[in-house]
Each structure stands twice: as structure tokens, then as C-alpha cells.
């Protein structure tokens, strides 16, 4: 192939890929805009004595992201509980975090009082899981950190 032709072919492939990628991104945004964005939280527990972060490995039975290592606890405040819908001071998210820390990790709610959670920020989260499942639709995740002076006995 002549250099000029080669350059044109290369450009065509690149440009076609660029359009394809742009189109895929458009698909993603359309589906997010169709209303599947939902509220979530991500909680971090550090041990004050040595500043280590508590990690968890997700169960093999999990439908989304099975067996994966992750931060202390991620879940969703639920519409099923009126208090978890309260937006002021991230109250709903704090209550949900306390509930899930007991459910997933067996840490009693009494050891994670909602006042001890420190709000960090909000992030817009997107990630594919496996097959038809994933968090492709997007979550608006409230990041909270458990800030306690004493270690939680685990």
C-alpha cells in the first residue's frame, strides 16, 4: 500500500472507532437518564489504634460482584423505611449504613451510632458487573466514614 493510502486507512479506522466509542457513551447516558440512577452509600471503618481500614470480601452467593474484595460496606438506603429517605444531614444514609454493617458484618448497631459517621462527599458511580448484572445504571453514592475514638471490637 502506498504511504498515503495507508495513512487514510489508518485514519478511517481511528475515526470509525472514535464514532463507535462516542455512540456507546451516548447509549450509556440515555439509560442513566431513563431513571435508574439510585441513591447508594459507601461506608469506611478505620481502626483508630493503627489507622487500618476494614475490608470485606463479598459472598460467592452475591448476584452482583461475587467474591470481590471491597471497602467496609456499600449498600442502599431503602424506600421501604421512611427514616432512610430523610436527606437532611445524610440521616437516611447513616441509618442505612448502621443497619447494613450489622446485617453484613455483624457489627451491632449500638457500636455504629449514626452520629459517629462523618460525611465525606458524593460521587456518581458506574461499573459493570457480570453478564446482565451491574451498576451500569449509575448510583449517586454518598461516602461516609465512621469516625470513632475507640476501636470497634471485631
Amino acid at each position: 500500500m502506498a504511504p498515503r493510502t495507508r495513512r487514510l486507512v489508518r485514519t478511517l479506522i481511528f475515526f470509525d472507532f472514535w464514532l463507535y466509542a462516542d455512540s456507546l457513551a451516548g447509549h450509556l447516558m440515555v439509560n442513566i437518564n431513563q431513571g435508574l440512577l439510585h441513591r447508594a452509600f459507601s461506608a469506611f471503618i478505620f481502626r483508630p489504634s493503627d489507622a487500618k481500614l476494614l475490608l470485606q470480601q463479598r459472598a460467592s452467593e452475591k448476584i452482583t460482584f461475587p467474591d470481590m474484595w471491597t471497602n467496609t460496606c456499600c449498600s442502599h438506603p431503602l424506600d421501604d423505611f421512611p427514616i432512610e429517605k430523610v436527606e437532611e444531614e445524610q440521616l437516611g444514609v447513616r441509618v442505612a449504613a448502621s443497619r447494613k454493617l450489622e446485617h453484613e458484618l455483624g457489627i451491632p448497631k449500638s457500636q455504629t451510632p449514626i452520629g459517629e459517621f462523618q460525611y465525606l462527599t458524593k460521587i456518581h458511580y458506574l461499573a459493570p458487573s457480570d453478564g446482565i448484572w451491574g451498576e451500569h445504571e449509575g448510583m449517586l453514592e454518598t461516602e461516609i466514614c465512621h469516625a470513632s475514638r475507640s476501636d470497634i471490637p471485631i
Partner: protein, 123 residues
Amino acid sequence: MSFVRPFLGNMIFAVRTGLTRLLFSSRTTSSPGLKPPFVSAALYNPRSPCSPFLFSKPTSRTKSDMAAVSVAKTVPPELATIDLSDYDPEQSKLMEERCILVDAQDKAYGAKDKKTCAHANIF
């Protein structure tokens, strides 16, 4: 200026690719949700250099665009057809919990079961 020439040539070719697609594509007015991935997204984006809407007013939004905007606030139907019987019963039960649907500013406007929320319905 010899180093500019190849780049310039590439630029012109890129624009022509877009125009060729514009001339031969019959789907330029279809809904954004229905377009196949191989159709140029640049044609749908009003700010794209290949877009026929590049020099028109912002009000030239098509009706299908407006429909997509109004869909954003409506709640999608339940995905009751997805069978979870092969999964762990406890995890399947948790998928019935109802998440809080929010807009990009984290304002709540509805609720939907986790199964619907976690379903990756991109394509």
C-alpha cells in the same frame, strides 16, 4: 510547514467520513434510545463537528429528543420477567428491596426494586 500537511489531510478525510454517513444514513431522525451503535453518534450531537445542527439554534431539538427528556422523570417498568431462581434464595430476596431513585442532583423522585436498578440494560 510540511509537518502540517499529513494532519490536515487526515482532518479533511475525517469530516468527509461524517458527511458520507450523513448523506447515506436513513436513521438520522430516529430516537437516541433506538439507534444501533454503528450509526454515527456525531450526527445526533448538536455540538459535534459532523452534526447537521451545528449552525442551527439550540431550539432545533427534535421531538424525539424532547421525548427522551420527559422519559427521564418517569419510572421504568418492573423487570419481573428476570428469573432469579438459579441464584441464592437470600440474595434473590434482597433484590426485592426498593431503592430510592434520584436525579443527578441526588433529589429523590421515586423508588424501584433493586433487581430493576442493578440490571445492566445498556443494549
